[in-house]
């Protein structure tokens, strides 16, 4: 297969002063070569933790990987030690963080910060690294790259800083770029610019992207495939079309109907998802979404649903897909489809 990254059965816990919190409960997804996977879900659903587990950036003292594999080109990254992992970070897989205001070191010039990764991974002289960094600043669309090399983060606007962060991330032409809510902290107009920038770079460098977001607009704009996370699990995964128009999971339905749409009857109110996510400190029996699910059945409260395969690319963890379950008509998707 041309899958560059596969995450299998990832199970991660955090130690808190109340005991352990099981934040990832068997996460499965994969990323195609050159493709873009979006991970969506509410805050606390485990999106960022998944990304940081791939990079092994979780603080070691209070996080435990209980189970699972992260296969990067067939190699399990979770078996790598710190030294081996360092060669992967920033070079094969790199990351863009949410808040450009805090993700740059305030006391180091941006030139140095970009060069740092280059010098670490590629056998470049200082001069070569400098030239590459200048090229990168230019590439991400910032004018006067030479003079800006010497400047410090506080001299840049938020959007500019995020461009720098992207430049840093792509410096070593990584195979995978993980973007953890890269546009959440930015103005709407800047958001589009950053997303376009990432798409351009993806085309130029043939990088795969994992974009973490809770903005379905970003998903539609960027991704080919989507994984929906809820309470530390991927509850549904599929192509953008499959998820937007043929979703089989009530949680995804909920997400879709709580999102405003441009061409829809304005009188129709947005539908929020009732309730709040489960407390991950407690063990969860059955489907974690069952308490909030209007279609819940008895089985949902007692048994965790497995992934039901809908098509080659589409899987959904919901008991409604069992042949014994009653027929339920999705409240979203098909109608939208008919409208278009």
């Amino acid at each position: 297969m041309d899958e560059i990254l596969q995450v299998k059965d990832l199970d991660v816990s955090f130690k808190t002063y109340n005991g352990e919190t099981n934040v990832l409960r068997g996460v499965n997804f994969s990323v195609q070569k050159g493709g873009t996977l979006a991970i969506v879900g509410e805050s606390g659903s485990g999106k960022s933790v998944s990304a940081k587990t791939i990079m092994q950036l979780l603080p070691k003292q209070n996080s435990i990987v209980n189970n699972g594999e992260v296969l990067f080109e067939g190699e399990n990254l979770l078996t790598y030690n710190e030294r081996e992992m360092r060669k992967v970070r920033g070079s094969d897989i790199s990351m863009v963080f949410q808040d450009p205001m805090t993700s740059l070191n305030p006391t180091m010039s941006i030139g140095k910060q970009i060069m740092e990764g280059l010098l670490e991974h590629q056998n470049l002289s200082k001069k070569q690294a400098y030239d590459t960094a200048v090229g990168l600043i230019d590439l991400v669309g910032i004018s006067n790259p030479e003079s800006r090399m010497k400047e410090y983060p506080h001299q840049f606007s938020g959007g500019m800083r995020q461009r720098i962060v992207v430049a840093m991330a792509i410096a070593c032409k990584p195979r995978i770029l993980i973007a953890d809510e890269p546009t959440t902290a930015l103005d709407v107009t800047i958001q589009a610019q950053i997303l376009d920038l990432m798409k351009d770079l993806q085309n130029q460098l043939d990088t795969s992207i994992i974009i973490i977001t809770h903005d379905l607009g970003v998903v539609a704009n960027m991704a080919q495939r989507v994984a929906v996370m809820y309470a530390g699990r991927v509850v549904e995964i599929g192509t953008v079309d499959e998820l937007f128009y043929e979703s089989k999971h009530p949680y995804t339905w909920g997400l879709l109907s709580s999102m405003p749409k441009l061409h829809e009857d304005e009188r129709e109110p947005l539908v929020p998802i009732v309730g709040s996510p489960p407390d991950l400190e407690q063990p969860i029996q059955g489907c974690p979404f069952a308490p909030r699910c209007p279609y819940a059945m008895k089985v949902c409260h007692s048994h965790m649903p497995e992934d039901f395969s809908v098509s080659d690319t589409h899987a959904s963890a919901c008991w409604l897909l069992d042949e014994r379950a009653p027929e339920v008509k999705a409240p979203v998707g098909t109608e939208v489809n008919a409208n278009e």
Partner: protein, 310 residues
């Protein structure tokens, strides 16, 4: 940047002026006379002495005179040691104070930095708890208690070091260590919390996500950013050193400024008290000024914009 320096310099001068004025006024309120043997003096003699020291003139005139002399670096003459200027007294006594002060500062800062950094990097391990306990003890046990105990055991009981006086380098060791304790504890606690805060910053994760080794991240990103605020500790540290020298010089009989100050307090030697007060304040205010400048140099946010730090 120029504006920033000017502003800081302005504060420095204002603070000094306030201190000088305040000291002068307070001295006027002091009970008693500055002459040690007042009972033996006739009224006539006191009058003569007053005249000689200019104390017969109105307070305002004395004040202006004092300010004028001060601008020329003249702190006046001692009442107790006839004929000796305060400048000479300070000059004679600054050596020992500066020596034990610097040794204490350097040693304390060095040990404090190590304790604090290790503590933060090994957060919530026994190393961390150990350094935290040492720091709390250092903060809590008054320096003079520590110094007295050290003198009693190391100096008197075990005879490892000379217990007091000023006869050679060995005499500087115990006073310096006694002074360094507070410095060490303050620095250790401060750097630990700064480091922990920086370690939690996004840019540290960014650096690690670039594949930079833990060591390089610590040295280039964490320690640098954690050390800059430590500079601001220099001013309070100076105060604690000054406070420390007063008692520690007394305990170890170090012929320094602190010992002179406590002695002058005992005998009501106005001009020396004032002189040392102003000297201390000048030192302190200059250090604050220098710290502000260094801060400006080290933190690009201030260096380039002259802006305010948060």
């Amino acid at each position: 940047m120029g504006k920033y320096i000017l502003k800081r310099f302005g504060y420095m001068l204002t603070a000094l002026f306030v201190i000088v004025t305040l000291t002068f006024l307070l001295m006027q309120l002091l009970p008693g006379t500055p002459y040690g043997n007042v009972d033996e003096l006739t009224d006539n003699q006191i009058e003569l002495l007053d005249k000689r020291y200019g104390l017969d003139q109105p307070v305002a005139v004395q004040y202006v005179k004092y300010l004028g002399n001060l601008l020329q670096g003249d702190l006046g003459v001692s009442f107790t040691y006839t004929g000796r200027s305060v400048n000479t007294i300070i000059a004679e006594r600054i050596g020992p104070s500066a020596l034990i002060g610097m040794q204490g500062l350097i040693f304390g800062t060095f040990v404090g930095l190590i304790l604090g950094i290790v503590s933060a990097l090994r957060h919530n391990t026994f190393l961390d708890y150990g350094s935290v306990v040492i720091a709390v003890l250092g903060m809590s046990i008054p320096a003079f208690v520590f110094a007295a105990l050290m003198q009693y055991y190391i100096g008197v009981q075990w005879k490892l070091l000379p217990p007091a006086l000023w006869e050679g380098y060995a005499n500087t060791i115990m006073p310096s260590i006694a002074l360094s304790v507070t410095v060490m504890a303050t620095v250790a606690r401060f750097i630990r919390s700064e480091m922990l805060e920086v370690l939690g910053q996004d840019y540290v994760i960014t650096a690690r996500a670039k594949g930079i080794s833990q060591f390089n991240v610590t040295v280039k990103h964490v320690i640098r950013n954690a050390l800059i605020p430590v500079l601001t500790m220099l001013a309070p540290l100076t105060v604690s050193l000054l406070t420390g020298t007063l008692v520690i010089e007394k305990i170890f009989a170090v012929p320094g400024i602190g010992e002179q100050f406590t002695m002058s307090i005992m005998v009501n030697d106005y001009s020396v008290i004032m002189g040392i007060t102003i000297f201390y304040s000048f030192l302190f205010v200059s250090i604050i000024f220098i710290v502000d400048l260094l801060y400006g140099l080290l933190d690009p946010r201030i260096r380039l914009d002259g802006g305010k730090r948060e």
